[in-house]
């Protein structure tokens, strides 16, 4: 039992980190970044490319995350901003992000090929035994990083001016300008953090998952599910949603058969949207119309 719980929590942290970026973007700009899965994939492919270029693993992982963060800012400047500021509607923004993800996948296949690539681990060695259950070292690191990110996020959102600005943006886009908070600063910041988190998740699990261009869409779906499960209006929701999704999948596969794992993920999305669109941690009063 403990084994299933730990496995679920470990993978849940990966989902949580991805979902966090998703929720932050949604909170800051009311926009669903369907290219977010591609950021995760770029993290893994970036770590592979850096290691192949001779960069030590210890530098390649943060390096890849930083590159993805920077890339996300470029995407914001060139693509997303006009949609968010132009009020083009959520659907067009989703479609434009799908187009962007398609380009990223295409370029990745052209550059690195369609095959999976192995990436050396930041923490090589066998899994660590904890009370009869075993956990891979990579996932332990991810758990620790998730905890750090959670603490940093708390500090950032609650205590700093930038965090307040981010939350204000989410509450009322048109009003933000009036209060002297510049969307053109907040949005790139949020995109940078989102890209960084997705990139670091991708780079860290690359030794376990193996880096491959097609890993983008499955993780997009997991991140979406986790964010919706926890509640899009709340960054804590994304982390909690990720952990819950990981555990649900772990036990769901155990009792329901492992081929249905994806169906479980989709069912989580559908049930949450229909029964409780504000998510587990969302405020009941929020009208998602």
């Amino acid at each position: 039992m403990l084994q299933y719980l730990l496995s679920g929590l470990g993978i849940g942290c990966v989902y949580g980190l991805v979902a966090l970026g998703f929720a932050l973007t949604y909170q800051a700009a009311r926009f669903f970044n369907f290219a977010h899965g591609a950021f995760f994939m770029l993290g893994a492919m970036g770590a592979y490319a850096l290691v192949r270029a001779g960069v030590p693993v210890g530098l390649a992982v943060p390096g890849a995350a930083l590159v993805v963060g920077a890339f996300a800012v470029v995407c914001e400047r060139l693509v997303f901003r006009r949609f968010v500021l132009g009020g083009q509607g959520e659907i067009n923004t989703i479609v434009v992000a799908i187009g962007l993800a398609s380009i990223i996948r295409g370029v990745s296949v052209a550059v690195w090929g369609p095959q999976p690539q192995s990436v050396p681990s930041l923490v090589p060695g066998d899994a660590i035994s904890l009370g009869g259950a075993v956990v891979r070292r990579e996932l332990l690191v991810i758990m620790v990083i998730t905890a750090i990110v959670a603490a940093a996020l708390f500090w950032l959102l609650q205590r700093t001016r930038a965090g307040v600005a981010m939350r204000a943006t989410a509450d009322d886009l048109p009003l933000v300008g009036a209060f002297g908070i510049d969307v053109r600063v907040v949005l790139p910041t949020v995109l940078f953090i989102s890209g960084l988190l997705a990139g670091i998740a991708g780079a860290l699990v690359a030794p376990v998952f193996k880096a491959q261009p097609v890993m983008d869409v499955p993780m997009l779906i997991k991140g979406l599910a986790a964010a919706i499960l926890g509640g899009l209006g709340n960054p804590w929701g994304a982390l909690v949603g990720g952990l819950c999704l990981g555990v649900i999948e772990s036990f769901g596969s155990r009792y329901g058969g492992s081929s249905w794992a994806d169906v479980i993920t989709y069912a989580v999305i559908l049930v949450m949207l229909v029964m409780r669109p504000e998510g587990l941690l969302g405020k009941r009063t929020l009208e998602k119309a």
Partner: protein, 323 residues
């Protein structure tokens, strides 16, 4: 006003004539007629699937990423009934469309309170569940091995085997779909206009009808997508879950946005655009993903109301300039 009507009639008649003559034109001009006809047939099938979205957005102002799932239900319903239970093909297709309509209601009712991106994601999840079900429920659906040997329809006794024969069947279905969408949209707009004139009616329309109308729109839309799926299964003669992945739903949404949803013509233009792009980029493998993504982005950025919408605005501006 009358002049415009006459012009419209003439244009419509010309369009019908051209549509009927397409196979002859293809036969006479193309280097490889079966291939070109195949692409045109597929464009028409996907135009029907895209029209199902045009209808949904026109009535309910909503979009769905689940049309691929309704296509799957239409295709699997038709194929299973025809191949395994030996139903006559026409009846099987009809029953499959009805099943889609029922599923449409089942999805539409809980989705009533969802809007915009939330609805998109709920329908995406529905598409994921449907795909997982047909993939994993192997005893019933054949699983990943799919269903082989779906018979060709034989409306006049002889089975339609060539792409050319099939074209007329698809064309008839497309005409039916166009008619349904036009009528529903007109009816809906008419109702709103009447509601504006009369307060009582307006209250009724706002109080009771919207839920009913949106659910009905979901049902009809699902049935249309199912019709496209049924046609696809008969046309290809083989179906497997790979035909109905999330990508398929994304592609249908792309077609709708590319063509534009302000007019029924947009569905045809969008389906033609996406299919043509796919064929043109065929030999470029990974670059087609890049070009496909770029095409989507360019259209959404430059003409957010689609090609037909953009053309209309351009025409309107031209006309203004002329007078």
């Amino acid at each position: 006003m009358r002049g415009a009507l006459v012009l419209r009639g003439a244009l419509g008649a010309a369009a019908v004539a051209v549509a009927l003559l397409v196979p002859a034109i293809v036969e006479a001009t193309a280097a490889n007629p079966p291939y070109l006809q195949q692409v045109i047939d597929l464009i028409a099938i996907f135009a029907i699937a895209t029209l199902s979205l045009t209808l949904l957005s026109g009535v309910a102002g909503q979009l769905s990423l689940g049309q691929g799932a309704f296509m799957a239900i239409g295709a699997y319903g038709t194929s299973l009934l025809a191949v395994r239970y030996h139903w006559p093909l026409g009846l099987a297709a009809l029953a499959a469309c009805a099943l889609c309509a029922v599923t449409g209601v089942l999805v539409g009712v809980p989705a009533l309170r969802l809007r915009g991106a939330y609805l998109v994601m709920a329908t995406l999840a529905f598409a994921g569940i449907t795909y997982g079900a047909i993939l994993n429920w192997t005893e019933f659906t054949g699983g990943p091995q799919g269903i082989q040997g779906i018979p060709a329809p034989a409306p006049f006794g002889t089975p339609l085997i060539t792409e050319r024969d099939f074209y007329y069947l698809i064309l008839a279905a497309l005409a039916l779909a166009l008619a349904i969408v036009t009528v529903v949209r007109r009816g809906h707009r008419g109702l709103r206009m009447r509601a504006l004139r009369n307060d009582e009616l307006a209250a009724m329309a706002v109080g009771v009808r919207p839920a009913y109308e949106r659910t009905a729109a979901f049902a009809i839309s699902a049935a249309l997508a199912g019709l496209a799926g049924a046609l696809l299964s008969m046309f290809v003669g083989y179906i497997s879950p790979d035909l109905f992945t999330i990508d398929q739903s994304v592609q249908i949404l792309t077609m709708a946005l590319l063509g534009g949803m302000t007019s029924v013509l947009g569905a045809i233009v969008g389906a033609a655009g996406v299919q043509t792009l796919a064929e043109l980029l065929r030999e470029f493998s990974e670059y087609q993903l890049i070009a496909y993504g770029a095409a989507i982005m360019i259209v959404v950025i430059l003409v957010p109301d689609g090609i037909v919408g953009g053309l209309r605005r351009a025409l309107a501006r031209l006309r203004k300039g002329a007078t």
